[in-house]
């Protein structure tokens, strides 16, 4: 058991060191959600009025509404980027080292997913801190309650990223991931607009959004930030994290990547 703990803590420590040493990567990951918050949300504030909806007790400005979605966007980008790198060459060197560990491959992959998820949380809280200064201030206790929710979402999205990278040949570069995974997941969700608004314009779009795992991720975080419990979202996220992780581990095989290249 001790060997497993040593291994896991070593993997987390490595991710932490890389995070600390590559501060520019951390800062650039914050630029995207901050642009959405400071520019997009400010511009759309007047156009998009949000009525009183759960978990909010009152009318809220648009900036408040999109904070959970933007927090999850950080996790979505990190999860997809990290997982893609696990499968293809950029990190293949370090993955080779990881895979020569005598500990089970399932354990190694899950440790890696968890470690990168934990580091992603630092970026999310960095973003939430800036948003706080900007004036979007969820309850302090909500920031704490949201921690496990954010971790679960980070894990779910990393596992989804790994699964998709394993399974889909066309996702060999990040542009493919942007077009076919990140944009659809993000825009067809409740990250930028409440689902009832979507339903007003299109019933089928509404249903696409309603079944999108990212919607449940955003709602889980939104409710947690306001110390409310979103049972369905939690169940969906827990279930999907389990399924995605299982399938991602089962389908992870560097040999497949090599066969694609040579084939």
């Amino acid at each position: 058991m001790n060997a497993y703990w040593q291994c896991f803590s070593g993997i987390v420590l490595r991710e932490w060191l890389r995070f600390v040493l590559q501060r520019t990567r951390f800062l650039s990951a914050l630029v995207r959600p901050l642009l959405w918050l400071l520019v997009f949300a400010a511009g759309f504030r007047a156009a998009l009025g949000i009525s009183v909806i759960e978990p909010y007790d009152t009318y809220i400005p648009y900036e408040v509404y999109i904070i959970p979605g933007l927090a999850c966007m950080i996790l979505l980008f990190n999860g997809m980027q990290g997982s893609l790198a696990m499968v293809y060459d950029r990190e293949m060197g370090s993955m080779r080292v990881l895979l020569t560990s005598p500990l089970p491959r399932t354990f190694l992959l899950c440790s890696k997913l968890l470690a990168t998820s934990l580091i992603s949380l630092l970026q999310v809280y960095g973003f939430l801190a800036i948003a706080w200064v900007y004036g979007v201030q969820p309850p302090a206790m909500g920031l704490l309650v949201a921690l496990p929710a954010l971790l679960l979402v980070a894990l779910m999205l990393s596992a989804l990223g790994l699964l998709l990278s394993n399974a889909i040949r066309q996702l060999e570069n990040f542009a493919g991931v942007m077009n076919f995974v990140i944009f659809p997941l993000f825009f067809l969700s409740s990250a930028l607009y409440p689902l009832w608004k979507m339903r007003d314009s299109s019933e089928w779009l509404y249903w696409l959004c309603a079944v999108n795992p990212f919607t449940h991720a955003v709602e889980l975080v939104r409710f947690a930030l306001y110390e409310r419990f979103a049972g369905l979202a939690l169940l969906v996220c827990l279930g999907l994290t389990g399924v995605f992780t299982l399938l991602a581990v089962l389908t992870f095989n560097p040999q497949h990547a090599a066969l694609r290249k040579k084939g």
Binding site: G10, R96, Q255
Partner: protein
């Protein structure tokens, strides 16, 4: 017990056969050179030996443990230096070593002792806090060897480890590994396409188009077949092309 036994290994990328019925053994404390032109199947063999790829046909035993049946025990016996550097460039020498020790589940105390010993042995003690990025190619390779030996494997596998080094560093690295082999009783499998890295008393294997076309001690092979290593290598690899 042999440090390494490869038994009837075959591997195909789809329709293309990369390895055909490759078998060889490596005795404890021996330095074995695996030679082959580009595309001979060396990288595939390394990927199989390190369990990056799953075996399709045959089996590999490392220190008597089957990669198929007891992969964890087999991997414990194996230290690897990959062709492309797999160090974290922005981490220090010591941080890289500690990460590897963690992957092998070593305790912190044990890690401290072994890191100390390996840094000493590879004469890297003074560089322990330097970032790997600041080291030259030869020293980086030494760090990778130190890392590969941290968990005290019986077999050290070096995949074209001298690629990219200047001639002096290349020679120094080769001699350094031979010293480890002699003094520590370590078995070494050294893959290369550079003939001058092989010595007369080395175990030699020549891989070509996925087949093992020669296997034995170099001086014995030359005695049997005549000529020098360059001639032998050219003859065997050309002959296969013609066939």
């Amino acid at each position: 017990m042999n440090a390494l036994d490869a038994r009837a290994i075959s591997f195909a990328y789809g329709a293309r056969q990369a390895l055909r019925d490759v078998s060889f053994s490596l005795a404890p404390g021996r330095f074995a050179a695996l030679l082959g032109p580009n595309g001979a199947g060396k990288s595939t063999l390394i990927a199989l030996l390190t369990r990056l790829y799953d075996l399709q046909g045959g089996d590999i035993h490392v220190g008597g443990h089957s990669l198929r049946e007891a992969p964890r025990e087999a991997l414990r016996q194996l230290g690897v230096v990959f062709q492309q550097s797999t160090l974290d460039l922005d981490l220090s020498v010591e941080q890289n070593l500690r990460y590897h020790a963690a992957l092998h589940g070593l305790s912190r105390r044990e890690t401290g002792l072994r890191v100390e010993a390996e840094l000493e042995r590879q004469t890297l003690g003074e560089r322990r806090r330097e970032k790997v990025r600041e080291l030259n190619g030869g020293h980086r390779r030494r760090v990778e060897i130190a890392r590969a030996l941290l968990h005290q494997p019986r077999l050290l596998l070096l995949d074209e480890a001298s690629v990219g080094l200047d001639p002096a560093s290349r020679l120094a690295l080769n001699q350094h590994v031979r010293t480890l082999c002699r003094e520590q009783g370590l078995s070494v499998l050294w893959t290369t396409h550079l003939l001058d890295e092989v010595q007369a008393d080395d175990a030699l294997m020549i891989l070509h188009q996925g087949r093992l076309v020669a296997s034995g001690q170099l001086d014995t092979l030359l005695h049997e077949q005549g000529g020098d290593l360059g001639g032998l290598f050219a003859r065997l690899t050309r002959a296969e092309v013609a066939a």
